[in-house]
């Protein structure tokens, strides 16, 4: 499944938020979007999963324009984990994951045995099957996020759009969730705020700045000291890690860097 965005622009109350964005995600690719806060990552993703409607430009999923796709049809092809995942009512974990089956169901059709198996498998994949009867409200942040991942898995889509899916999670759960997603073999477009995570998992990266695509390429091409300085205005040391063979970024904050320079002068 591939995604094709052409000249997408979006503004809110005459405020341009996305400016002439074009991008491509090929079938099976894991594509990351990085950029500083407020650069328009979330807004772009919302346009792509149709929570917002772009002012101009077109979006194609498998060469089919969004205008010709029904909401339900899109939901069978495209799974989403957004940012706002509050749920003010008490649902069991099972019920939440069962919601993922919705786009495959007719009106008033109940869950079949097959649906139950899909739900069970999804829960096993994120290692939450022992918690199936638990109340979602009482889960920890990491558990909640895994349940939402299970919901998207039970939706059985070939394409996933994720908006910082590991936000607020500890490093163990961050790696776990991305490992599960990577293991699916699905086509993925994800906003990622941790540059090292982006380096570890992405095949390609789009960099956004001020509502436009600044640059795109492989992690090696994108995650360079110069580019990170230009976009995030921080100093970094970038090298290839001997074990992962992936780009590894070490942040060099002012406070430590200044001390280092002082030491050198003293020597």
């Amino acid at each position: 499944m591939n995604l094709h965005v052409e000249n997408l622009s979006f503004s809110y109350n005459e405020h341009t938020i996305l400016n002439d964005i074009s991008m491509k995600v090929a079938s099976g690719e894991f594509v990351g979007i990085i950029g500083p806060n407020g650069c328009g990552k979330s807004t772009l993703l919302k346009n792509l999963y149709r929570s917002l409607t772009p002012d101009t430009g077109s979006i194609y999923l498998d060469h089919k324009g969004y205008k010709d796709l029904k909401v339900k049809e899109l939901a069978r092809k495209l799974g989403v984990i957004g940012q706002d995942n509050t749920l003010p009512f008490d649902f069991a974990v099972n019920d939440i994951v069962a919601m993922g089956r919705s786009p495959h169901k007719k009106l008033f059709q109940g869950d079949t045995k097959e649906d139950m198996e899909i739900i069970q498998n999804a829960l096993e994949k994120v290692d939450m099957h022992t918690m199936a009867d638990k109340n979602y409200l009482y889960l920890s942040g990491g558990e909640k996020q895994r349940v939402l991942l299970a919901r998207v898995l039970s939706q059985q889509t070939d394409f996933l759009i994720l908006d910082e899916p590991t936000n607020h999670l500890d490093i163990h759960h961050q790696l776990r969730i991305f490992d599960v997603i990577k293991g699916l073999g699905a086509t993925v477009l994800s906003a990622i705020h941790d540059l090292n995570i982006a380096a570890l998992y992405c095949d390609r990266i789009y960099v956004m700045k001020n509502g436009s695509i600044y640059k795109s390429g492989t992690p090696e091409e994108i995650l360079t000291t110069d580019l990170i300085q230009e976009v995030f205005t921080i100093k970094t040391d970038v090298r290839i890690h001997p074990v992962t063979k992936k780009v590894m970024i070490t942040y060099l904050p002012e406070s430590i860097l200044n001390k280092g320079e002082n030491n050198i002068e003293e020597d």
Binding site: K46, Y49, R50, S51, V71, K72, E73, L74, A75, R76, L78, G79, V80, G82, D84, N85, T86, L87, P88, F89, D90, F91, A92, D95, I96, M99, G100, S102, P103, K105, L107, F108, G110, T130, M131, D133, K134, N135, Y138, Q155
Partner: protein
């Protein structure tokens, strides 16, 4: 391992919905038979059952008559329509509550939060005291209350649409504001009322009462109830998804705008028609859905039918209390539901604040 410790107490959450509904149905029948007998003139349950059976086709010959004509008049002419109306009104108010709570994603939404009851009261009072809508005939009260409800809903709905989507904050606030305006208009009408008897009737009706129940009052609310319930049950998955948020519902393949419009219309229709026959019986739409969720969880496939039954049963029993507490006089049932419902609302508020 120790999974039995980590599990939450489930209540009826594992029980099959069909079983729960079957028991609630039996309970409802028992409620009807018992409640009919209770009032200023009490009739034994056995007599009540016989009178009811004698009215059923094919069974009437099997029951030997042994009751007075007075009993039959009370049971068949007065109490049965009243109890049945109580069931329908309670069910409608509860389902309206469930609908509104799904719409605004908040436990605290109540059929009256949109100002619907105030709007209905205003036009109904106008009709009652000045005969404004008397050209509409026997249904004049129902129709005038319905018109008021519909008017408020359309205004509130128009005010709360921002950039083509319903803005929840706007919806709630404009509901409160329009409700207050309508209440002031009602006061204006009652203060300039030409006759005292009409004023007394209007005040009683506004406080919520099932006392005037007649057989012909049942048709419209029952019809509205069946239609709305069917539409809601067909869309139970969509309602569930809506609780997870507009965005999640959209991503799960539901057309959120159409869905919200539908919910607004259903809630308005149910509330309008109900208020027309019973006045404003507050807090039922708040309490019943909440108790239902505590019992069976939040899945609308269960919440909708269970809250309908529970709401009906609650209103019927509250109505029994309303006609017994100061017998032979009657309390407006709305006064009783408010006395129970007010503290319940405050408890919910505190509980929500703690979360």
């Amino acid at each position: 391992m120790d999974t039995h410790i980590t599990k939450q107490p489930k209540g009826l959450k594992e029980t099959k919905p069909i079983l729960i509904i079957f028991f609630l149905f039996l309970f409802t029948i028992a409620t009807v038979i018992l409640a009919i007998g209770m009032g200023p003139v009490s009739v034994p349950a056995a007599t009540t059952s016989k009178i009811l059976l004698s009215k059923l086709p094919y069974l009437s010959n099997l029951v030997e008559s042994g009751w007075t004509q007075l009993d039959e008049n009370i049971i068949w002419g007065l109490r049965l329509p009243r109890v049945l109306l109580g069931l329908i009104v309670g069910a409608s108010l509860s389902v309206t509550g469930v609908t509104l709570q799904a719409l605004v994603r908040n436990h605290l939404a109540d059929p009256f939060i949109l100002g619907v009851s105030s709007g209905a009261s205003a036009t109904a009072t106008l009709g009652m005291l000045f005969g404004t809508f008397s050209f509409l005939g026997t249904y004049s009260l129902s129709i005038s209350a319905f018109l008021g409800a519909a008017f408020v809903i359309i205004v509130v709905y128009a005010l709360s649409r921002v950039n083509g989507k319903i803005n929840m904050t706007q919806l709630l606030l404009s509901g409160v504001a329009i409700g207050l305006i309508m209440e002031s208009i009602t006061k204006l009408i009652t203060l300039s009322a030409p006759n005292a008897l009409g004023l007394h009737n209007a005040t009683f009706w506004m406080a919520g009462s099932l006392a005037g129940a007649k057989w012909e009052y049942l048709t419209l609310p029952l019809l509205a109830m069946i239609i709305c319930m069917t539409i809601l049950l067909i869309n139970y998955r969509a309602l569930n998804a809506l609780l997870a948020g507009d965005e999640a519902a959209g991503a799960l393949g539901f057309n959120v705008n159409i869905l919200q419009t539908m919910l607004v219309l259903i809630a308005s229709l149910l509330a309008g028609v109900t208020i027309a026959v019973s006045g404003s019986i507050g807090f039922v739409g708040l309490m019943v859905p909440h108790i239902t969720r505590l019992l069976v969880g939040s899945d609308h496939k269960k919440v909708l039918p269970v809250s309908a039954f529970l709401g009906g049963i609650l209103v019927v029993w509250t109505d029994v209390a309303a006609r017994l507490i100061i017998a032979p006089e009657e309390l407006p049932i709305g006064v009783l539901t408010a006395i129970i419902g007010g503290p319940f609302f405050i408890w919910l508020l505190k509980r929500n604040a703690r979360k």
